[in-house]
């Protein structure tokens, strides 16, 4: 379980070279944790998909199946008091901060056990207690908000870091531009992470963007370093995260990371994602971050039985979480009329 990761490169495969470099500094416990986290995210969202198909998740749902390495790598590198700001595609980003599976599934299903008791839904998972400061569903909005949380941390002198996840399509909206410039001139401890999964909803990012790397090719416009990473390699993600967190905590200011990844499924709901070429999809399925990492761990000498054990634990967890959420009642109707205001009420008159 503690074979040195130098041997990684020996095993060859299509693993980027910086992955093995990353490997050099990551200890085995962390690697196990990274693997477990990715696997948990996977079963969580597969279950969300099943529940959607059973019409138990209403409205909509946006899955990040295939993108687990980003959430897991960053989530694992965070300090408990750091802030996460993410999008509607934020189940994993919320989960990795320590939120329970049942409260996520419960929210998707509009149950009382839901994280927001059904008031927010799939697109708005939030757990302030865990530093998960919200899932934002209107493109671009949360980039300046994340900068604001970083400003607050800077002012309060807490060394907290604010991390903001968003998609490739988000790089073409005005708020992206304003937030990046703002974060740089105030030297804020905020990390902007673009998960470039090549598509917006049904339209390819390359068809509507003036540059090839929609985030990284704009970094210089804000005086930032251009950083593109393999978002399917959790070691790379984790190590990148460690570096930019350290920089932010030391007063080194913001970073912008573009992580190349891919969603296995469609954009939302029951979208089959047919607008994507078969070969492209296949190539990315072949680079599924979870089996890829499993293989690497085994190459590194971690016992397969240990991984099997983790997987069975997760499989059991998701079952009991599903049961809990399914058995949770509908939220009491009267909560619809509370908490517009901080006094708990919703009244606009006396």
């Amino acid at each position: 379980m503690s074979k040195k990761n130098k041997e990684v490169s020996k095993s060859g495969k299509d693993r980027p070279s910086n992955a093995s470099k990353a490997g050099a500094t990551i200890d085995a416990d962390t690697r196990i944790r990274l693997y477990r986290t990715m696997y948990e995210c996977r079963v969580l969202e597969q279950r969300a998909y099943d529940l959607f198909m059973q019409n138990l998740v209403k409205g909509t749902s946006h899955l990040a199946l295939g993108q687990e390495a980003v959430a897991s790598g960053f989530g694992t590198a965070m300090r408990p008091d750091d802030y996460t700001f993410c999008t509607y595609r934020g189940h994993n980003h919320t989960y990795v901060r320590g939120v329970s599976m049942a409260s996520i599934l419960g929210e998707l299903m509009g149950r009382e056990c839901g994280l927001l008791r059904g008031k927010g839904g799939s697109m708005h998972l939030t757990s302030v207690e865990h530093g998960a400061m919200g899932s934002y569903a209107i493109i671009g909005a949360h980039l300046p908000v994340a900068a604001g949380a970083a400003w607050s941390a800077q002012y309060r002198g807490t060394e907290q870091v604010s991390v903001c996840f968003f998609g490739d399509g988000t790089t073409n909206i005005g708020a992206f531009h304003e937030a990046l410039n703002f974060a740089v001139i105030w030297n804020l401890p905020v990390i902007f992470v673009c998960e470039n999964n090549l598509y917006m909803e049904y339209t390819a990012i390359k068809d509507v963007t003036a540059v090839e790397n929609p985030a990284a090719d704009r970094a210089e416009a804000y005086g930032l370093e251009s950083i593109v990473i393999d978002g399917n390699d959790v070691d790379v993600v984790y190590e990148t995260a460690i570096n930019v967190f350290a920089k932010a905590r030391e007063g080194g200011g913001p970073s912008l990371i573009e992580a190349k990844t891919y969603r296995h499924g469609g954009h939302s709901r029951a979208d089959p994602g047919k607008y994507r070429p078969d070969e492209e999809l296949q190539a990315w399925l072949d680079r599924d971050p979870i089996p890829m990492y499993r293989e690497r761990l085994i190459d590194l000498g971690i016992e397969e039985s240990q991984l099997n054990e983790i997987e069975s634990q997760c499989d059991a967890e998701i079952e009991s979480a599903t049961e809990e959420a399914r058995n949770s009642p509908s939220p009491p109707i009267d909560i619809a009329l509370i908490d517009v205001w901080a006094d708990g009420g919703a009244s606009w008159r006396n």
Partner: protein, 325 residues
């Protein structure tokens, strides 16, 4: 007469107008190759080609700005904003630029454009994808505001909006997209600014819009059958121009007014109509003016919660009984 879904009527209206007039162009996110996320515009790309039916980046200010610039230089653009909530990211272009520039330039510029969007609740999309923002638009001088309740009106009013020389905000109620109803064959254009009496009645006038029209009609049935109250339903259809004549005529006959709004309580269009009636028909009224609205809250996501807060036929019935009894 063919039966079309509300969704199909959108595409039919755009196609009808694009065939007629080469200056009509259409842009928005995922509208061309994918045919729109609500599948309202499937087939347009095939028929009219990529010069006229265009996918854009996620850049709502650029979308609306492009429509504005094109409309003032000879084109008649139709722009789609996917969910009406997203008008908030480009409200400057809509409310400050498009709406005001004709006036500010002493009439030099015209903006013959249509801004279409999926509006309203009932689809469990949560507070940021469910708003009814027709009152935001109504509050801005220089915008025409249309919100149809059925397929025939979608087709006729959207066609008229495209032909209109002024900017029109066209709100499609997303929970109605799948509903089928009859649409006249052939070219169909319905003038803007004319309300429709969707049901005649004698005891009370209920003014409703978009998804609230079927709910009001439903309430009227219950009122008639269970309470012997005869409600007249006015489908307002167009908030600007507002057909105050049809509304005032109806209230003059029934002496009572109830408005049914989907938007949250404060400063909804129902308040405007209430204030018009309270001024102009005060002496004809036989009782208070009642507004049924969503409470002044963001919409919750869970189905039971959302259903509990939006105006329902039962809720309308209760308020009307209280008024007429």
């Amino acid at each position: 007469m063919a039966e079309l879904t509300y969704r199909e009527a959108v595409g039919a209206a755009i196609a009808q107008e694009m065939r007629r007039d080469k200056s009509v162009v259409f842009l928005g996110e995922d509208v061309a190759a994918a045919g729109g996320v609500f599948k309202t515009t499937s087939g347009l790309l095939d028929e009219f080609g990529p010069e006229r039916v265009k996918d854009t980046p996620i850049s709502e200010q650029a979308i609306i700005g492009a429509a504005m610039g094109a409309s003032m230089t000879g084109l008649r653009p139709i722009a789609e904003i996917m969910f009406s909530d997203f008008f908030a990211v480009c409200w400057d272009l809509v409310a400050n630029q498009i709406a005001k520039t004709r006036y500010m330039t002493d009439g030099q510029c015209s903006f013959p454009l249509v801004l279409r969007s999926a509006n309203g609740g009932g689809s469990r999309f949560g507070a940021q994808h469910s708003q009814s923002i027709e009152n935001w638009a109504m509050a801005i001088p220089g915008l025409k505001v249309v919100a149809p309740s059925n397929s025939a009106d979608v087709k006729g009013l959207l066609a008229a909006s495209v032909r209109d020389p002024d900017p029109v905000m066209f709100f499609e109620q997303k929970s109605l997209y799948a509903i089928k109803s009859e649409v006249p064959d052939g070219e169909h254009v319905e003038p803007l600014g004319v309300a429709r009496i969707a049901r005649t009645g004698t005891d009370v006038t209920i003014a409703a819009l978009a998804a609230m029209v079927p709910r009001a009609l439903n309430a009227a049935e219950i009122l008639q059958n269970e309470h012997g109250i005869s409600a007249e339903i006015v489908d307002v259809r167009s908030l600007v121009p507002l057909d105050t004549k049809t509304i005032l005529d109806s209230v003059e006959r029934t002496s009572r007014l109830v408005t049914v709004e989907e938007n949250p309580r404060l400063c909804g269009w129902g308040a405007e109509i209430a204030s018009i009636v309270a001024e102009e028909l005060f002496w004809n009224l036989d009782g208070p003016i009642i507004r049924v609205t969503t409470p002044h809250i963001p919409l919750p996501s869970a189905d039971e919660l959302e259903d509990a807060v939006m105006p329902s036929p039962e809720g309308i019935v209760q308020r009307v009984i209280g008024l007429v009894d």
